[in-house]
Amino acid sequence: SLISPSRRLTWLLMAAVLAVALAAAISTYSVRQHLARVLAASDQSAAEQVRGVAGSIDAVLRRAIVISGLLLLPLLTLVIWSARRQELAWDQAQRNEKSLVTTLRSIGDAVVSTDAEGRVMFMNAVAQRLTGWSEEQAQGRHLRDVVRIVQGGDNKPMSDLFERVVATSEPVGLATGSRLISKDGMEYCIDDSGARMREADGTLGGIVFVFRDVTQRDVQERALRASQEMFRLISDNIADLIAVLDPQGRRLYTSRSYQSLLGAQENLYLTDAMADVHPDDRERIREIFDRISSTGIEQRAEYRAFRRDGTVVAIESVGSVIRDEAGNPARVLIVSRDITQRKAAEEMIRGTMLRLEQQNIALASQTRNLAGRGASLDEIHHAVTELSGRTLRTSRVSVWFYNEERTAIRCADLFLESTGAHEEGAELRSESYPTYFAALAEGRVIPAHDARTDPRTREFADDYLDPLGITAMLDAPIHSEGRLIGVLCHEHAGSPREWTIDEQSFAASMADILVLNLEIWHRRQAEAALREARDGLEIKVAERTSDLEAANERLTELDRLKSEFLATMSHELRTPLNSIIGFTGILRQELPGPLNPEQHKQMEMVNRSAKHLLGLINDLLDVSRIESGRIEIARAKFDVREVVNEVLASLSPQANAKSLVLEAQLPAGPLEIISDRQRLFQILLNLATNAVKFTDVGRVSISAQLTDGKLVLAVRDTGIGIKPEGLRHLFEAFRQVDASARRQHEGTGLGLYLSRKLATLLSGTISAESSFGSGSVFNLELPQFPEPIA
């Protein structure tokens, strides 16, 4: 309702007061009217009395009005104040109710309220959704029709909900495991509770029924319970020992298997798991545990622990962390296993392996390093056949190698176990045993358990197996560097024999060992040969080197002595030659006085001989210097024309004396060249001097021309010429064309030799052509601009 109760009361009170006042006023007025009528009809005294009464009535009326007014004022005030208060409280209640309704409508739980008869008055949205009833539809219906609750597997309806709530004094949960069936048949697991609503007078106003859908929670709880149960079953029934520890390593949970093996105490809860670990391992395991709980990384460890009875057990554990909701490591799950037996088995296997390995090593060492120890080929063969024969208990073991043509195999060694003897030299030709050779070429072990019938070996039956009583053969191919080189044969006499896999692989191993030894042997041979050759070579080289060094030193010393000797000789010879040449020159010029013709001629001869001697000395010195590399070559640009003219000028006396034509044939313009002017002059003078010397009639000409960066100088004569055999040795030292020429024409015998040496020094060449009897040409070829000297 829109008007609050207090306000209503106020209005009522005010109306009452007004009514009383009005009633009083009206009644007073009517009494006064009545009195007035009485007065009109009555006497004076009575009138006076009546007036008096009327006056007192007026007074009373006035007083009553005044008093009632006085009374009404505070009353009104009080009433208004109280009404105001009530109004505020009512507003508050209205607001509370509103917010309460809103709350009820919006909370997650379903809320239904009824009146005192159990008829639905209110349903919030959740209740509507769960029950399938809208509030409008449900209002006025009984609670039991709207909220249908069953219990148990057979959907037995609960005793009347409304009655039960009414019967309960306290708000209370009604039942667990109850289910709500909605209007459209949906089923929800719910938690519910109900409470009575009382009116102010204590009478029942209705009930409030609250419930919530716990279907989801119920499923989860059941799953959790199931998984917990499963975990318990698993952990109690598997052989692995399971423990859950807190981060300090205290046991929070231990499986039955754990308890039966470890833990000295009866109750392991919160006891230190490390107590069971062997003291020697404890520190290590503690570290690993700390690592697990701090990093959360799974770790595995093997250690020793004490059984309940105090004996030691080998344990392998895997630790991993169980994280809390925030993802932090909260507990540590340890899954352990008794590995005592496994350890023992491993130990045993290791021991066996070790023994086998040692046996192998021993076996191999007997044979493997034979070659390394310097055994001969025969010793290697013998060792392998003997070892193989004794190990496999075969009567005959032999080693065969292909010949170079691969047409046969030849026995390098046959070991007869019965006598301990060795033989060799037998040969099996492939053409005689084609099937066996084909089988062999496949490169695999041939285990012929019955050699006489085995297709691979029966070719041997008549001429080999039968006579020797051989029943089984085991042949292992010998490979070297991927190539089949032979076969290791085991032959068993007596009763037939099945070769085991082990025996076959042993035979193959022996073949490998043989090859290994052969390879080592060959390598050692090669190394030895190489070493020998190298040592010999080194010694020879060393000897030769030291010889050469000594010889070189001696040569250097000799060369130095020779040069020194020549220099000294030159110097010492020049001193007397100076006066001989000088004085004969003076005498010949008749400066001191006239000579007769004979004296003049003789003086001339002495002078010429002395000059020849001087020339010889000069040439010798030059040759010596060139040969010892002590000559210096100048490099300068000059005109060859000048050099040619100087040569001609210096030879013209001799030429004139023999009436020879001496001429230059030079192209127009300068003939520039970079070379050693002095040396070129020397060569050219030498050649021209020879030409003049060996020409009696005709001419001597010097021509020069530049072509392709080369200067070609030719000295031609019309002289006696040189025989072909003479040309060959022309430029050698102390050669003259023949003995007669030497006698006839004095020369040092060094001129051409020196000329060629000088030409070479100038990066040039010198050559000669001649036709005997009609003249010679000497060609000197020089680079116009030679490469700079490095």
């Binding site: 110097h571 100076n578 004085f583 000395i617």
Partner: protein
């Protein structure tokens, strides 16, 4: 005035030959048998040119030349080597040591004076 030449030469024949040729050209020739004698001669008189053998007893040509070069009065005096050492290296060595010229023995009697003449003072060249 005739050119005056100091001839330093230990070999008597060579000394005679050179003297003959020089005097034939009108030179005045004073002899010294080695470097030491040459220095003494230089102390006592002035020369236009010194002809000096290199290999000599007591004091050789190089040592003598060194002494001459230390004497301020005759620093510019031309000293020519006349020697039997005949290689290019010898010639180079002599020129580097300070010899003004290098004449190889055996001397060419026709050219000998001409080779010396260029070292004489102007006044003597004409002769």
């Amino acid at each position: 005035m005739n050119p005056s030449i100091l001839l330093v030469e230990d070999n008597e024949q060579n000394r005679y030959l050179a003297t003959f040729l020089l005097e034939n050209e009108g030179c005045r020739v004073v002899h010294a048998g080695n470097g030491r004698e040459a220095l003494r001669a230089l102390d006592s008189e002035k020369f236009d040119v010194v002809l000096m053998d290199i290999q000599m007893p007591e004091m050789d040509g190089f040592e003598c030349l060194d002494h001459i070069r230390t004497r301020s009065a005759i620093t510019d005096l031309p000293v020519l080597a006349v020697t039997s050492f005949a290689s290019e290296a010898d010639r180079k060595k002599a020129i580097e040591a300070g010899f003004a010229g290098y004449l190889e023995k055996p001397i060419d009697i026709d050219l000998f004076f001409d080779q010396i003449k260029s070292y004489l003072p102007e006044r003597n060249r004409a002769s």
